[in-house]
């Protein structure tokens, strides 16, 4: 599929999170591989956010907000999720790992590390106010995600940098950068029972992105934007990430 083949209705539905996972994944791959499509997606996302943002201006009635879940409940849920995930991974392994991307073992280790973070098994060091230049921690505050920590880890025996992002609605996103020059290959994304992971490689490194319970369209758009930002000339593409404000949906699970 190329930019010219992409029906505008499909891209619009993708922004609304209305596509079936398989089709959403196809569009996500196109976003990751074609900057023109990424710009179209980002602009549609911006327009959606702007229209949604009109509501407070034209509304005079205040809306009572639902009470957030208690900290105890969140901790319990996170712990239970992590335990279940660890159990499932230990016994069954991960299904549907995209072929040709960082191997199964690396994905498994990344998922375990992500689960350990959510489960509170390690207390990561907080990032300083301005991250060091050698830390790949793209700005995603406009997309509702704040970098929380960066720590060195190991995925399938290879050194990796784990950057954790925290969303205002409880989302947790883990980005792993494996310092391994690799033959460039396609973007891959997989969804398995709420566990989402995407992977891609660049000139100097491979990347893995992991989240659980995140809206699939949001995850795909974030992954596509991060792939663009991770490229050699990715600095100028931060705007694409910054325009993902419309894709804010809470994580479930």
């Amino acid at each position: 599929m190329t930019e010219n083949d992409l029906d505008p209705d499909i891209l619009s539905a993708y922004i609304d999170g209305e596509l079936e996972p398989e089709e959403a994944s196809r569009v996500a791959r196109l976003i990751a591989s074609d900057e023109a499509v990424a710009r179209r997606a980002a602009k549609l996302s911006e327009m959606k956010a702007a229209v949604a943002g009109m509501a407070p201006e034209i509304v005079v009635v205040t809306v009572p907000r639902p009470r957030p879940a208690s900290r105890w409940m969140l901790s319990f849920a996170a712990g239970a999720c992590a335990s279940l995930l660890l159990f499932a991974v230990a016994w069954f392994g991960l299904a549907r790992v995209p072929a040709g991307l960082p191997g199964d073992a690396a994905v498994r280790d990344a998922v375990l590390e992500h689960a350990a973070w959510i489960g509170g098994s390690f207390t990561p060091p907080m990032l300083p106010a301005s991250a060091p230049a050698d830390v790949f921690a793209p700005e995603m505050i406009a997309a509702g995600l704040t970098p929380a920590f960066a720590r060195e880890t190991s995925l399938n025996g290879e050194a990796a940098l784990h950057t954790g992002y925290v969303g205002s609605s409880g989302c947790r996103l883990s980005l792993f950068r494996i310092a391994r020059p690799d033959a460039e290959h396609d973007f891959g994304m997989s969804s398995d029972d709420g566990l989402l992971h995407a992977s891609w490689s660049g000139d100097a490194a491979s990347f893995l992105l992991v989240a659980r319970g995140m809206d699939e369209a949001r995850f795909a758009l974030l992954a596509g934007a991060l792939k663009l930002a991770s490229e050699r000339d990715g600095g100028g593409k931060q705007k694409i990430i910054a325009s993902l404000g419309a894709m804010r949906k809470p994580c479930i699970g």
Binding site: D9, S12, K43, M47, K48
Partner: protein
């Protein structure tokens, strides 16, 4: 409806006031007209003999009441053919690629008011009120695929109006499309 039932429905209505009113503004384009439609909608909901039990059905039912009130009021103000004409008329001046326009809150508000009723309605239901395509399809009795294409068309129309208002285009893109 008994007093207890009425207060129960009132409590269920409250969380929907904001988006319901926003939908009314989107349809009628003016706050006074929207206020009338909104008040009438709340009154009819409170007078209803039965209300849907599940929350999604309740929400869709509420928005459908408001939509019907607005259609009835519009019909009484002008001939139906005029109304239908507005629903099918695409007021877009010329096609503009969405990625070439600049988006800011003021321009979007201006451009939104210039959209046709149909376009305003679909964007209000999906973007402002947060309905899924399936919910919108049920509410206004059209296939889900129609909702998808109309939302997309409404966004293209909005982009065209934004392009018309801003004239500014992102450098280089047009050249790349030659």
């Amino acid at each position: 409806m008994s007093g207890i039932m009425r207060s129960r429905v009132e409590r269920r209505l409250e969380p929907h006031y904001a988006r319901l009113f926003a939908y009314a503004v989107a349809l009628s384009r003016d706050r006074d007209g929207a206020q009338d439609v909104f008040q009438e909608c709340i009154a009819r909901a409170l007078d209803a003999r039965s209300v849907p039990e599940t929350e999604p059905a309740f929400r869709a039912w509420l928005f459908a009441i408001l939509r019907n009130i607005w259609i009835d009021q519009s019909r009484s103000r002008r001939r139906r053919s005029d109304l239908e004409q507005e629903f099918v008329t695409d007021l877009v001046p010329a096609p503009v690629a969405p990625e070439t326009v600049l988006v800011d809150a003021f321009s979007v508000r201006q451009a939104f008011t210039r959209l046709s009723t149909e376009h305003r309605e679909f964007l209000a239901l999906v973007d402002i009120s947060g309905f899924s395509y399936e919910e919108v399809a049920m509410m206004i009795a059209v296939p889900k695929g129609t909702v998808m294409s109309r939302v997309s068309r409404a966004r293209r129309a909005l982009a065209s109006h934004l392009g018309d208002a801003n004239v500014v285009e992102l450098a280089g893109h047009r050249e790349g499309r030659k």
